[in-house]
Amino acid sequence: MNLNNGKGSMSTASSSAAWKAGDVVPDQFPAGLRVLVVDDDPTCLMILEKMLRTCLYEVTKCNRAETALSLLRENKNGYDIVISDVHMPDMDGFKLLEHIGLEMDLPVIMMSADDGKNVVMKGVTHGACDYLIKPVRIEALKNIWQHVVRKKKNEWKDFEQSGSVEEGDRQQKQSEDADYSSSANEGNWRNSKKRKDEEEEAEERDDTSTLKKPRVVWSVELHQQFVAAVNQLGIDKAVPKKILELMNVPGLTRENVASHLQKYRLYLRRLSGVSQHQNNLTNSFISPQDATYGPLSSLNGLDLQTLAATGQLPAQSLATLQAAGLGRSAVKSRMPMPIVDQRNLFSFENPKLRFGEGQQQLSSSKPMNLLHGIPTTMEPKQLANLHHSAQSLGSMNMQVNAHGGQGGQGDSLLMQMNQSQARGQILNESTGSHVPTLTSSMGQPVLSNTVVGGVLARNCLAENGRGTRYNPVSHSSSMLNFPLNSTAELSGNSFPLGSGPGISGLTSKGTFQEEVNSEIKGSVGFMPSYDIFSDLNQHKSHDWELHNVGMTFNDSHQNNSLQSNLDVGTSVLSHQGFSSTQRTGQNRNISAVGKPMFTAGDTTDHVNAQNVGPINTFFTDNSVRVKSEFVPDASCETNLFPEQFGQEDLMSALLKQQQGGVAPAENEFDFDGYPLDNIPV
């Protein structure tokens, strides 16, 4: 067959056709599909190239991930789909996946000779649109065009939906808020959270415009401009409108900036998560998160990547994250709150650190990598900031607050939350409306701190974008309550961060996965504090991204031990009285957060503080996962970022606690005695 030659010319012609625009598919489609193949195995690479050519695709091959990235960056619109191997010497395939998702938002297919469930799951969580097992057959390659079409279709859909649901969502949200405050039911809470998330999402969409808009490609230069504008404004104050003005790019709309900002925040959050800079309350969202979660930071980094991978965290997020890291100081200014105090409050530093360490291994380098494509000046500094060990949730909260770029209120909330952390009771207070659970459980300051931190962080995150949504988060004050365990809950917003920072970290991660909308219910007991936030902030429905995080964890349930820990967390979360769970709770929370994940895993022993070890791994995974899932839609307000971040931080916090063996006593589950197993899913 002389298809190759013919195809070459044909594909060239067709590939540049309307196909790219997405609205008109060339007649020859899928012929001419521009595929980029990345594999360090020359044999496979050659075979794949030949097969793809036989399918009439236009193929570019490279054997290094770095090469692939630079090719993609040079020519953002030059490729339609990327196929990448998982195991590569210079860069992990999943990392590449995240980068691509973040920077170019192209569909990516992973492939490997490894068909283990975990690896495939990783692909899913990182946002790969497909996973092929080697040896790849040509039949499998023939249909890859569907991923390109699907993606484009979804992009359009997002635009279209922006304006329609707003009304309904707004109303819904309000009613949900009411629900939250009144019902002490986790289930209800979760549901409402879920609804809230949806609402928030819908609301966010509104902002982006009801009109279909041609997709804006965030080139490196554009992103740099964006980051410069954000930095100039300060992460906290960086609102789309102002950014747009500063950037002064013709044709760019506020919605474009808003969605990009959202992603950026998420990215920053991830970054900060990687570097434990607990004390970095700095910049907007991301930093705070990282700071608090120290351990989470590593996860965060991963998360970002994940997020990036999923395309949710566009470069913006990375930049944001960076900014966040740097913005620590910014946050501080905003938060009058004695973040510092809070830090002290968090006894779980140790665990956090630990967690962070664990994560660090994984992601230590990640944040840096994330920044590769993102020309943000803040990079080094931010990362540095991020890497501070998240001393306290306070810092996280702070960050979160900062994050709340959208609503400065978030910061205030954070602060409040921070404070409450120490007290635990605050949670109760804040939860007033939403989280009935928090009240007593928060007993332990440490826990509360972590939880709070996590919650706060989460809340902040959520708050930032969502404002309203935080409420649900606060509910999770009991972090443990976080319905991670029950997948149902997760969807809600329950962010199972409940238990300690570690959990928060987890939760954040998990929630991310779910989708930004799903609020992180579990977010941990902090809920009460969140309430404050939500009140203050615009309550965007976005709470929870944290939820997602939690959810993700479940998926990743990498470590059984983690799971068990998480289970503990979950149970704790479910309880609402998460305070008791402290260590164990934390673990639980983690599980709760990662409920979806954990449930998958078969952790038998729930509360094993000792499992902390694996948690790291777990978290890392989670973080990664969270990332990928997190950015459900571009329209999500920045709130998304904060949430994610929070989760991570929470998680890390939780982890830390667990690891640090922080007050084993903390592990006692005071919660109302929800049996872990009973966590309604």
């Binding site: 195995d41 044999t43 075979i47 097969m51 195991h87 010497p89 790849v136 057959r137």
Partner: protein
């Protein structure tokens, strides 16, 4: 030897390779990919496979020779060899790699060394067979005939 006979020999030989498990369906895929526009495709891929595999086997030998074996590294190499051998259809090599990997997980040096030997053995065997096959094909083409791929319908 006249073309017809060479072709028959080729067919028989190829079939036997499949029967004995040296090659699997993936190799057939490669053969089917070959066409007039790319008549040396199989040869090229196979050569690439040889090069790559020998490099990997050397790396593996070195890695297992260390005082303290880095099993992760060993596993990574084996994984890659598994990937390329499966892509080319070298079934026995692939299977040997699978066994190898499980011992890597167990961090069993002794067993890993044995597996390495096994993999090497299978590799040299299949290399030999493929070289013979290619030689046959080249002879057929040199004699003016064409390789009867269509007869590989088994």
């Amino acid at each position: 030897m006249e073309v017809g006979q060479m072709q028959r020999t080729w067919v028989e030989y190829t079939k036997s390779l499949f029967m004995e498990g040296f090659l699997d369906g993936q190799f057939t895929q490669l053969q089917l990919l070959q066409d007039e526009s790319n008549p040396d495709f199989v040869v090229e891929v196979v050569s690439l496979f040889f090069e790559d595999s020998e490099r990997l086997l050397n790396d593996l030998t070195r890695a297992l020779d260390q005082q303290s074996v880095d099993f992760k590294r060993v596993d990574a190499h084996v994984h890659q060899l598994k990937g390329s051998s499966s892509s080319i259809g070298a079934q026995r090599v692939k299977n040997a790699c699978i066994a190898f990997r499980s011992f890597c997980e167990q961090q069993n040096s002794e067993a890993c060394l044995k597996c390495l030997q096994q993999v090497k053995q299978e590799y040299y065997l299949v290399k030999n067979k493929l070289e013979t096959l290619i030689r046959l094909e080249q002879q057929i083409v040199a004699a003016g005939g064409s390789v009867p791929m269509e007869e590989l319908s088994f």
